[in-house]
């Protein structure tokens, strides 16, 4: 059974690019409960400066995943977490990206924060959203595609409203591949 490793992603030139430790700790605890497997926070911060697009001021998520895969242990499921905004070339942004049936995933808290939309900060909501997005991306690493059940964690969500409306659990069908991997 592979444990989950959370990697803080930051950029030395940008102090706010790294997520707060308390947020990572609560995420680690919640993911450990969701996947019923150990989840630890790696002590080192992974530098994602190489993936910055200066024009867009966003970081290329696919490039980060490729670099993470080369750098990390193959016997752990790796989730990079950043406070910076992520993109893939044709899309305006992504909340996260994962290798389908692979080992690595990455999520961003940038657009999960209420402040991004001009609202007052809500830490509890950010925690919920981050857990849903992180579990969703990790679900992809188990080979899961988007689920038509809107309540399922694997339901597609490209806006925070959709993220809020879906549940924090996998549906029965999506739970199966994870179960087969020995997590349940």
């Amino acid at each position: 059974m592979k444990p989950i490793h959370l990697i803080p992603l930051g950029a030395p030139s940008r102090p706010g690019a790294e997520p707060g430790l308390d947020l990572l700790e609560s995420l680690a605890a919640a993911l450990a409960r969701t996947f019923r497997t150990p989840c630890q926070i790696r002590p080192e911060t992974f530098d994602l400066s190489f993936a910055l697009d200066p024009g867009r001021q966003q970081y290329h998520s696919t490039a980060i995943i490729q670099r993470l895969e080369r750098a990390m242990y193959p016997d752990a499921r790796v989730l990079g977490v950043t406070a910076s905004d992520l993109y893939v070339p044709v899309l305006a942004f992504v909340f996260g990206e994962a290798q389908l049936d692979g080992n690595c995933a990455v999520v961003s808290t940038a657009r999960l924060k209420e402040e991004f939309y001009g609202m007052p900060p809500r830490q509890d909501l950010l925690r919920k959203r981050l857990l849903k997005e992180a579990a969703h991306e990790l679900g992809h690493t188990f080979g899961l595609r988007h689920c038509p059940d809107w309540r399922c964690l694997m339901a597609s969500s490209h806006a925070v409203e959709r993220l809020d409306v879906k549940g924090a659990e996998f549906c029965r069908a999506c739970r199966k591949p994870i179960f087969e991997n020995g997590y349940w």
Partner: protein, 454 residues
């Protein structure tokens, strides 16, 4: 978002999307994004590749970059539309401008998006485009259904022969069995086919009718199986055949005894494999339909003569319904006359006239070689000719007269005599005479001049 591998073109998917962009990174990231969303996406690096792909595969949506080296997005859109008129095109632009948007929409694009694309917007746009396409198909299907099913499926008649036919229809309709309807011309084979379709499990899907006798061999094949663009001179577009159009419904093959041996072979293959290949194409396409066939010919005799394939006959004659000629069920004539009078009077908002006893007597003793169709036409003509509250024997004139001498007269003589008779019956009212004769007033004038009747 998941980094997904390219999936094969499966049949069960949310939709099939063609991505045309000269930038590899755009094709890649969009392809992966669509795959993770449950779509099947195929990338094309340029116009030529896109046009090749559209010939091989069917797509629901094409996402086309407007600026590409060589053929640009607008031109490609027009070419793709020629190849597949049902394809929904969405144009991608690097920058939003009113001119570009107007130009794209003017050229028939469904919508346009600006790069980089908001994933939520893209998700909605693609879902809406697919829904729009499905709705359009549904409308076409319903239109087809209305045209095909709306005509009466009511079987009129209480004679033992008709009761038997009705029982057979009730027996076979709920099944998927192939039905062969035989009977003389005008006995109501198409009405029976509609009744079977309307009472069967496929009633909410279209019933597509094809009168096989009205086409040459090549045209019939193109009608039945469809054709690819350029399959023959004049094939400017890819066209779906009747079997594809009927998807999920029924195909009524009328005058099946008139098709060539070559088409019989192709038809047998379709019935057995439930698979067609469009004329000029090489890809087999799965089709789902129920076959109902009809003929006024003796297929067994044609089989013996070698003009009809025995194996196709065996396949078609799983369940046969033979419709009796009207002369063998004269008891139904009053009911039928009443039905047609009612139908025509309703259509023209006219008070229903009475049928005189003498007129009924004439109808009961006529031979009706044209069967129910002839009776229907006779009633319609009588309603046009007779304007009073009662229909008299003089209001009827029959298309076929079994007792008339068959030889000795030229076609012109027969035509002249017939026009003269109708003129007498309509008291030389040329408009009414033209309606009865089924020609326009100008044609009638020309004929009157030609025969010296003016």
């Amino acid at each position: 978002m998941a980094t997904a591998v390219d999936a094969p073109m499966a049949t069960k998917t949310r939709g099939k999307i063609l991505i045309v962009d000269d930038e590899l990174v755009v094709r890649d990231s969009l392809g992966k994004w669509f795959a993770s969303e449950g779509y099947i996406a195929r990338p094309a690096g340029g116009a030529r590749e896109a046009l090749e792909l559209i010939q091989q595969l069917e797509f629901d949506i094409a996402l086309i970059d407007i600026k590409m080296p060589g053929m640009d997005g607008m031109e490609l859109q027009a070419r793709l539309h020629e190849a597949d008129p049902e394809l929904t095109v969405v144009i991608m632009t690097g920058y939003a401008s009113v001119e570009t948007a107007v130009q794209a929409l003017k050229h028939g694009a469904y919508d346009y998006i600006t790069k980089p694309v908001d994933p939520d917007e893209l998700s909605h746009l693609v879902a809406n485009a697919l829904e729009h396409k499905r709705a359009r198909r549904e409308v076409e299907r319903l239109r087809e259904n209305l045209q095909e099913v709306f005509p009466s499926t009511e079987l009129i008649g209480k004679s033992p022969a008709m009761k038997k036919a009705t029982e057979l229809i009730e027996m076979v309709a709920p099944t998927e069995a192939i039905v062969l309807i035989t009977g003389e011309t005008g006995t109501g084979k198409e009405v029976v086919a509609r009744a079977i379709h309307a009472a069967g499990p496929r009633r909410y899907m279209p019933m597509v009718t094809i009168h096989c006798g009205g086409f040459t061999e090549t045209l019939l094949e193109s009608e039945l199986f469809g054709h690819e663009k350029g399959a023959f001179t004049g094939a400017q577009y890819r066209k779906k055949g009747k079997f594809e159009i009927a998807d999920g419904g029924s195909v009524f093959l009328d005058e099946i005894g008139d098709i060539s041996l070559k088409t019989q072979t192709d038809l047998l293959r379709v019935l057995e494999e439930k698979e067609i290949v469009r004329v000029g194409g090489d890809q087999p396409i799965k089709v789902d339909f129920r076959c109902i066939a009809a003929t006024n010919k003796n297929l067994e005799a044609l089989v013996k003569e070698g003009a009809f394939r025995a194996d196709l006959y065996c396949r078609l004659s799983v369940f046969c319904i033979d419709l009796p000629p009207l002369r063998e069920r004269r008891d139904d004539i009053p009911l039928l006359v009443d039905h047609f009078l009612n139908k025509f009077c309703m259509a023209t908002s006219r008070a229903m006239p009475q049928l005189s006893a003498e007129a009924l007597e004439v109808l009961m003793h006529h031979e009706w070689p044209g069967n129910v169709r002839e009776l229907e036409n006779a009633v319609e003509r009588a309603l046009v000719v007779g304007r009073g509250p009662e229909i008299r024997p003089a209001d009827f004139s029959f298309q076929f007269r079994a007792d008339e001498p068959k030889g000795g007269q030229t076609l012109d003589e027969v035509e002249r005599a017939h026009i003269e008779r109708i003129l007498r019956e309509t008291q030389h009212n040329l408009s009414r005479a033209a309606r009865v004769l089924g020609i326009d007033r100008t044609t009638l004038y020309n004929k009157l001049r030609r025969y010296g009747l003016r």
